[in-house]
Structure formats: C-alpha cells, structure tokens
Symmetry: C2
Subunit: 136 residues, 2 copies
DNA sequence: TATAATGTCTATCGTTTTAGTAGGAATTTC
DNA sequence: GAAATTCCTACTAAAACGATAGACATTATA
C-alpha cells in the first residue's frame, strides 16, 4: 500500500505545480484544497523541503513553493524520499541494497527473480513521469 | 515492502514445484530448507491450501503438495492471495476497488494517474510469470 | 488398537509502523 | 509589538506484522 504520507506529498507537489507561480502557498491552503490534515501535511512538506524539492518562507505571506520546474522533478526522486525504496525487497534495491538473512543464493531465489522484474517495471514508470506529467 | 508472509509463501511454492513429485512434503522439511519459522510457515501453507493452490495430507507421511502444474499458477493469483491487492491504492485496484474519501475526482488526481501506470506495469510482470518461470 | 507423526485451528503477544496530535519556538510582515 | 506563518520535538492510539503456544484431528503402521 501507498502510505498516506506519499499520497499527500504527491498531491501537495501537484497542487504547487498547478498553481504555477513562485509565490509561497500556505500550508493551510494546500491542506484545505486537498482535504489533508494540516498538521500531518506540515511534517510532510518539511521533509520535502529538507530534501530539496521545496523552498519555504516564514511569517505573514509565507508558505511553500517549488524550487525546480515540474518537468525537472522525476517521480523516482519523489517516491524514494516519501515512500522509501522502490524495490519491494532490499535484495533487489538499487539505492538501499541489503542481503537477505535467510537466502543463501540470490541467483537461485525465486523471490529475487520476480521482484527484480517488478522493480524494473516500476522504475520505468517512475522514470517516465515527472511532476509535470501528473498535472491535468 | 513485500511481507514475510508473501516471501515465505513464494519460496514454499517454489520449493514444492522444484521437488516436482506429487508426494506430500512436510512443513518441517520446507521450513528447514528455506530457513523459515515452522509455525509461521504452517499458517501460510494453510491459506495457500484454502485458496486452492495446495493439497494436504494429514498424519504420518503427510504434508503439502501442489494441486496444479507450476505453469498453471500465475503470479497474479499468488500475489493477490498472499500480499493482497496488486494496486498500491484502492482507487486503481481491479479486484479490490474503493473510492478515496478525500479525492473528489479520480480523473484529475495525480496519484491516481501515476498509480494506474504502476499497477499496469506490475500486472504485466505478474501475468508473464507463472510458478514454473521462477524455478531455476 | 496404541502410538507416533503429522496437519488444523484458535488465541495470544511483542514490536514496529502509521497516521496523526499537541504545543510551543522561531521568523517575518505590517 | 502583534499577528501570521513555518519549524521543531515529543507524544500517542490504532493497526499491521511476525511470529509463538498449545490443544485438537487425522492418518499410518507396528
């Protein structure tokens, strides 16, 4: 399952992209427009800022804004920050590789074999989509 | 993340397929060979039996065995039984569809748009793989 | 027919993750 | 200086996960 965090984060990014301006948009406005708990959204926007997707401005007239152009923001990056590894098992992860304790031989492992294909197919989708592709 | 349940279930199925015979294989043997907690594996094999993948025999000389040929067992079916929906959000699920509370319009929704593609790509992988394709 | 070997079933449990909530500190504008 | 905003830390309730325990049912075979 996709976490709410990722879902809300994507929606917030999309909203900011659709607004189009570089003017800061308030958390409250995003939360209201996307039906998200404002406090929860705060923490999500914070991690998006810390990871270089958003800029922010404090005080009156403050808010969040996109740092890059929507077409420069690939879904691979967004998903990795919000949802974590794209692979469903660490032993097929490109960025978060870990060997399985139980599995003596990855080459022979059926789970490895299947999940490698799943990772590749998901990766292709995420690579083919930037934030710009998601606004309608 | 793939659950341990799915991982172990897949490994067990693969092991049964690789053994090849229609003779019952004991839980203990599978558990040992695949480094799985036996008690946990018991419950997994039970759900696989209840869902028509495995047959079982009780008592001495008992165990589990595949009911169908490996090439007749598509990964779509296995994944749905062990892991649940293939879609990452209910609003793009074929078999477990549910509307999102928060989302007023699926057609406009960026999450929907992206996750539809992810579902389709995963589905293609699972449809192209039967249990027979996973044994090496 | 007794016994040992197996699967079946229900209940429970500790840990981790999820999805928030609370409350205040820091910063900026007016 | 007051109001509006983001920033940050800590906490929490509920669910999911990954088992574990123990009794029961069935079967083979000695």
């Amino acid at each position: 399952m996709l976490s709410k965090k990722t879902k809300y984060g994507l929606k917030a990014l999309t909203y900011l992209a659709s607004v189009g301006t570089k003017e800061p948009v308030q958390i409250a406005e995003i939360a209201k427009h996307e039906n998200i708990s404002q406090k929860f959204l705060e923490s999500i926007l914070l991690t998006l800022r810390r990871n270089g997707f958003l800029g922010s401005k404090k005080g009156k007239g403050g808010g969040y804004y996109l740092i890059k152009e929507p077409h420069e923001i690939p879904m691979t990056a967004v998903m990795r920050v919000l949802e974590g590894p794209i692979a469903m098992v660490p032993c097929v992860s490109l960025n978060f590789y870990e060997k399985c304790d139980d599995c003596p031989d990855e080459v022979e492992c059926s789970v490895h074999k299947l999940m490698l294909q799943v990772r590749d197919s998901a990766l292709e989708v995420y690579r083919n989509n930037t934030l710009a592709d998601l606004i309608s």
